[in-house]
Symmetry: C2
């Protein structure tokens, strides 16, 4: 595909310094990628010093850089296991003027390699820097290293960061399903994911017994309507005397308006006193209210998992950690033969899970996102399919073992 | 203290069957206690069969019992690692009539020992059963085995279940503090705890660096007022450009009215008269709105940790798991020499953490709860003290290791 492949350099890799940035919502393995880049860059003869920018492009503009050339490996290994962006993150798209300002910093610090770790917005930032650098004839190699708990990047099989968040959500539902089995009632859990349902779908990964929840899973790839939802809950409750529901924060109506948006506009109109309905807990509380009305007297609770999904210390997927390191290491390797690109993961065919990396053009991943394919969602739009579980299980890795009394 | 010691039987322990129940909000180690009772009971010659009641006293009334005499040890060990009540739980206080009905079941099943795992309400239930059994001259030995994430039982140094919930909260704040450090702003997290601030206080256990959050900790032991809260947040934000706040769901005004009650017109109450505080995001959203008004333009977010704190699969404290098993085992041992009581933990003096059990009268633990002592809360009522951290650290056990770039 002309123009969509990474640019391969015939000439040798330039000598100079490398700069690493982190951007967007952090994950629990984003520092694995950082450490992978630092360690591989230090092994690369053309790269002299390894710098980091604090809070992504903001740090470049403020000339707020940190030198990681002599960080001890022991400390780097601790950092790799640390959630959230060790360099600080940012949500910022640089203007052309800001890019030119960044080149001043690059020139002063002799930066010839930029590695930017982030999601689709970060890939776009990298692409903007690349295009303006080319227009201005500023010689820099630019690489995007993928991360996102949403798993919504184009081209790649999956995104580093997703597997660990999926494991958190799966284990949260494993425990919450058991809690609900202990005390009965209806429990609704709101999961992160504005446009893509991958993380909400991961709620089903821990199911073992036929009656295990989540019994219902609603993702933003399908329309969410009140009546079918209430009918679903009533049916499950009638069967098991309980019901656990996974709902994406991005569920929306036929016009694509999210329920959270609907609630914030209603809250503004209905506001009395200081009470605000908009905010993190509102969707769960609203849905719980809906179920309470439909099932009077039934114990109904809602939780919104929130930032724990991307930041909880001590819950990560081994394979996710390994791959997050790998995309960092390989980005540096690619930088010796190519001038730009984004590192993507491809799953090898066969029964045993295995992934390899390749490099594709930045603009193929920049800006846009992907949703879950229809084959991952069941016909009624209230659960995931076996195809999804087969896809996601190796990414989340080994889950906590739970048992059930046999009651002989 | 006359009347407040467990009744010691001069005669030998009766021969018959044992019945185990679980009650109240579950924990991630409540099944350790269950398994401890089952295994020790099977080793005890006077106990013939080991039965469980599904959903506590409700299962006794419905004659819904399960036989655990022949559960394999391998399966029991899996169950021990499983969050939530494997037998099912309940929130129910039996009436005298219901107690008499329960004795019918006991008689039919030759039950001579009752072990009831739960919090202060469950101790009350056990005490009611004991007192009516004595009045009716029904021969049964009744033991309460403590559990609660709130850590609010009287007499005992701490409660099984608390350490693991404390570890969850500590690791949640470790990660969330790093997330907040990455993207800045004000973050408010609402933690479980109706009357006691122990779990909210555990948010501080993971702090390592001087600027680590939570920067502010508010517990129900002190009055919560708008102005000092906003002043605190402004001061921290001015110093660090960010602020992480831990707030108990039970914070209240000078009259003892909780902020959640103020926000909710239709407060739900359970059978023991407790108002539902969990399972709603309203308090967090409300406090976030308050801060947004006071600090315009600042990124403010709120999360309510909810049921994950007591049910998340795969996060437990090793010492908590060990002690939860121990109180179960020792309850059975005590049952051979005493006719009733509740198992409490005492901390041995000395630098190395060590706990032993003893037995005290049911009524000393039943019904009432304890709050955190004032020496665990700082003078300004917005943080915990070193005394608290020294108390709680061995209970939560080893936390996930995090690192920070040295930036040489």
């Amino acid at each position: 595909m002309a123009g969509s492949r990474p640019t391969v350099s015939r000439s040798s890799a330039p000598a100079g310094n490398a700069l690493i940035g982190q951007s967007g919502g952090p994950t629990v393995v984003i520092n694995q990628s950082l450490v992978g880049i630092v360690q591989q860059a230090r092994r690369t003869p053309t790269i002299h010093r390894v710098l980091g920018t604090r809070h992504g492009v903001a740090g470049i503009l403020a000339n707020d850089l940190v030198d990681m050339t002599r960080e001890s490996d022991a400390n780097l290994e601790k950092v790799a296991l640390t959630p959230a962006a060790a360099l600080g993150s940012v949500r910022k798209k640089p203007s052309p003027d800001e890019c030119r300002q960044m080149f001043d910093t690059f020139q002063k610090r002799d930066i010839r390699y930029l590695f930017y770790i982030g999601g689709n917005d970060s890939a776009e930032t990298a692409n903007i820097v690349l295009e303006i650098a080319r227009a201005e004839r500023y010689p820099i190699r630019v690489f995007h290293v993928p991360k996102t708990i949403d798993n919504d990047l184009l081209v790649t099989d999956h995104c580093p960061g997703y597997g660990s968040a999926a494991k958190f959500v799966a284990q949260a539902f494993m425990g919450d399903n058991l809690d609900n089995r202990s005390l009965k009632g209806v429990k609704i859990n709101v999961v992160m994911g504005r446009h893509a349902g991958y993380l909400t779908a991961a709620s089903a990964l821990g199911r073992q017994w036929e009656d295990d929840g989540p019994h219902l899973v609603y993702v933003p790839e399908t329309e969410f309507k009140r009546k079918p939802f209430i009918d679903d809950v009533k049916r499950v409750y009638a069967e098991y005397g309980r019901c656990v529901v996974a709902v994406s924060e991005g569920i929306h109506d036929a016009k694509g308006v999210t329920w959270t948006q609907k609630l914030s506009s209603t809250a503004e109109r209905d506001a009395h006193g200081n009470v605000q309905l908009s905010g993190s807990g509102s969707l769960g509380d609203y849905l719980a209210g809906m179920v309470k009305q439909a099932l009077p007297g039934v114990r109904v609770r809602a939780d919104t998992f929130g930032y724990l999904q991307r930041s909880f210390a001590g819950c990560y997927s081994e394979s996710d950690a390994r791959e997050a390191r790998l995309v960092g290491v390989d980005a540096v390797k690619y930088s010796q033969h190519s001038t730009s690109g984004t590192v993507v993961l491809s799953r090898a065919p066969g029964p045993r899970y295995k992934c390899t990396t390749s490099l594709v053009a930045l603009k193929r991943v920049a800006r846009n996102t992907k949703s879950m394919p229809r084959r991952f969602i069941n016909k009624d739009g209230n659960d995931v399919t076996k195809a999804f579980l087969d896809y996601a299980a190796p990414l989340a890795g080994r889950l906590h073992t739970v048992g059930r009394l046999r009651g002989i």
